[in-house]
Structure formats: C-alpha cells, structure tokens
Subunit: 238 residues, 2 copies
Amino acid sequence: MSKMERPFDEELKSLKEKLLEMASRAEEQIGLAVRGLKDRKEEMACEVLEKEEAINRLDIEIDDMAMRLLALRQPLATDLRFITSAMKIGSDLERIGDLAVNIAQRTIDLLKQPQLKPLIDIPRMAALAQGMVRDALNAFVNGDADLAKNVCRRDDQVDELNNQIFRELLTYMTADPTTVPRAVDLILVGRHLERIADHATNIGEDVIYMVQGKTIKHHVEEGRFTGLQGCPAPDQKK
Amino acid sequence: MSKMERPFDEELKSLKEKLLEMASRAEEQIGLAVRGLKDRKEEMACEVLEKEEAINRLDIEIDDMAMRLLALRQPLATDLRFITSAMKIGSDLERIGDLAVNIAQRTIDLLKQPQLKPLIDIPRMAALAQGMVRDALNAFVNGDADLAKNVCRRDDQVDELNNQIFRELLTYMTADPTTVPRAVDLILVGRHLERIADHATNIGEDVIYMVQGKTIKHHVEEGRFTGLQGCPAPDQKK
C-alpha cells in the first residue's frame, strides 16, 4: 500500500531505527551475559554491566521522541498506535537489558565457585530468547502480525526448557547439598531468560495490537495458563 | 492551585479512578496470595487466580481510554504526560497482578508439602510491597513527587529483606536436602515480591517524571547498583 511521503514519516522512521538499535543492543547483552557464564569469562559479564547505560539512554531518547511526536504532530489512528507501541516496546527492551544485567551478576557470583556442570540448556534458552527479541522487532518494523504471533507461540518452548533446567537442578541440590548455592544461581539465570522471552512475547502482542487494532494480550496469557492452576475450573464448581 | 474545570478534566478523572481501582485490586491480590501461603489456605490462592481477569480487563480499559484521549483531545504538556504515565502505570499494575498469580501458583505447590517453617519475613515483605503500591498510586493521583521519591527509597528495604530470606533458605537446603523443593519455592516467592516492589518503584519514577517533567529512572537505578557489581569501577581501570 503506497502512500504519500510526509515529513512526519521521517520522524517515525527515526523512532523505528532507535528501537531497532535498542533491540540489537539488548539481544547482544543477552548473548554476552550467557557466553560469559558458559565460557566462564568474568570480563564478558563486566562488559554487560558497562553497556547497560547505553540501553537506558536509548529508552529515555525513545520516550522523549514519542512524547514530542504526540505533542507536536497529534497523530491519529495508525500513527498513534505506532507511537504508543514504540513507548511500550522501549520499556520492554529496557527490562530485557536489566535482565541481562541480572544474569551477568549471577555469572560474577558463579565464577567465584567451581563449575557445577557444563551448560547446554541455558545457552539454548538464551538463543531462543534472542531469536524472539529479534523477530518481535522485525515484526514491529514490518507490521507483520503473523511473525508476531509466531514469536508469542515460541514462548512455550522457552518455558518448557526452563522447567526442565529447574527440575534437573533440584535433583543436583537434593543429591549433594554443597551444590545448593550454585544450583540456585543457575535456577535464577533460567528465570531471567524466561522473563526475557516473556518481554519478547509482550512486544509480539503489542505488534498484533498495533497491526490489527485490537488487543490479544490477555487472551494469549489465559490460554497459556489453562489447566496449570491446580484449582477447580470455574465450571467444575457449583 | 485552582484552574477552570473543562469537560476534558472529567475524562482524566475517570482515568485516574480506573487506575486507583486497578491498584487497589492489585494490592488486594498480593495480600490474598501471601495470606494463602502463610495460613496454608489453598482457596485463597485459587481466589487470586480467579480475580486476575478483572485486573487484565482494567489494563485494557485504561489503555483504550488513554488512546481515545490522545486521539480525540490531542492533549499537550501536563495532560499529555499524565496520559502517557497512566498507560505505563497500567502496565506496571498488570504485571504486579501477574506476580501475585505467580505467588499463588507457588502457594498451591507448597501446600502439597508439609510446612518448612512459619513465615515471618515473607509477610513483612508483602506488607512493604503493598504499601509501596498504595503510596505510588497516591503520589500519582495527587501529583506528589515527594511521596513518589519516598516510595523509590523504600525499595532498598524490600531488597534487603529478600536477601535475608534468600540466605536463610540456602542454609536450610544445605543442612537438609529434603527441604530443597520447598525452599526453592519460597525463594521464588521472595523474588516475586521483590519484583512487585520494583514495579511500584517504576510507578514512583513515572510520577516524578510526570510532576517534574524530567526522567530520573535510570539515575535511581544506577545509584542502587553502585558497588554491588564485583567488577572494577570504570575509574579504577586504566
């Protein structure tokens, strides 16, 4: 669908570019944090901590740009949805950056102790989460609702992997209590990665909302939790 | 500071009321989830799961109202900041609701096993987090930056308590491996409460931004992490 080029489009494009830059930095932080953990390189974890500020600055810049666009351009319909989505996506990316920092902090802690086990599943989880962040942003810039839905669906794989890691580490701790502090640190790393995937899913949901003009977010979540609760379903109760 | 009443003010007021309702529900969910855990009442945990939908619905309503106001009223300056803050606060409250659900899920799991220990610190943490959510919203509706700053400062107490709980539970697990699954569940409850306090802090930061028109959020966070990293500070390196 071709439409006339307006000066406003330039500003939207530059907002888009800032978000892409922020996403690629966030993705890099996840990779760096987990590689530092896997290869036992403290300097990589420290690099994550140093690079956090740049991501935070981008979040502020995106917020400022979006506010300026809302105030000066008073956009409607599609553009309005685009700008408010950009603000939300900025927040999600900022939290992804925070979570990468949390992983780096666990890494620094873990590297003071001998290695518990070679890590296989955590790097796999990280790769999945990175792919979700990347595709969620691609879906955003291309307005691709199908890709966004695909991102949301992949969240289950990450959850599954996290549960598997969790159960394995419980076994370690029960068998040998000296492993407890290290296993707990690894459980937390798994949790952080799971939350990164949740934020990528949020972004996917925002994209679907932006493209289709309706919100699906809580429906996705409800579907995800069905049958996991351990409580009687509403229709099983009198 | 009295100013002329405009029809727009009515709509802003109703947005404010929706946020207050959402916050009071979120606060109630935290209380219910932790009381269910402390008093070992599964029906309370199940109530949390049932009540989640109402909070999610409010988040969607707030988003819709804010979008409508942005589109139809094209607000400037203070009103614009108020509306975009409302959208962000809605997201934070929605995640607080999610975290209360996560606590309820841990509770359901924990109630299948004998009690590890009477809970003292977790309910204290919950009370602190609830107070932060309440005051953050009061700061928002009254535009009270001092109260908002006070909320942000209280986050340290919650973190401190969480670290204490964490260390105590590590001791349990190391001393007796049969406690591992329960202790890990309780560690996760502590984490969830810590994150609830983080979201309340985010709200406080948004309020300060809204009132003062400048963002403090990443400065607060930087201050909070200083010296915790285990990495050489930038000025200690060559």
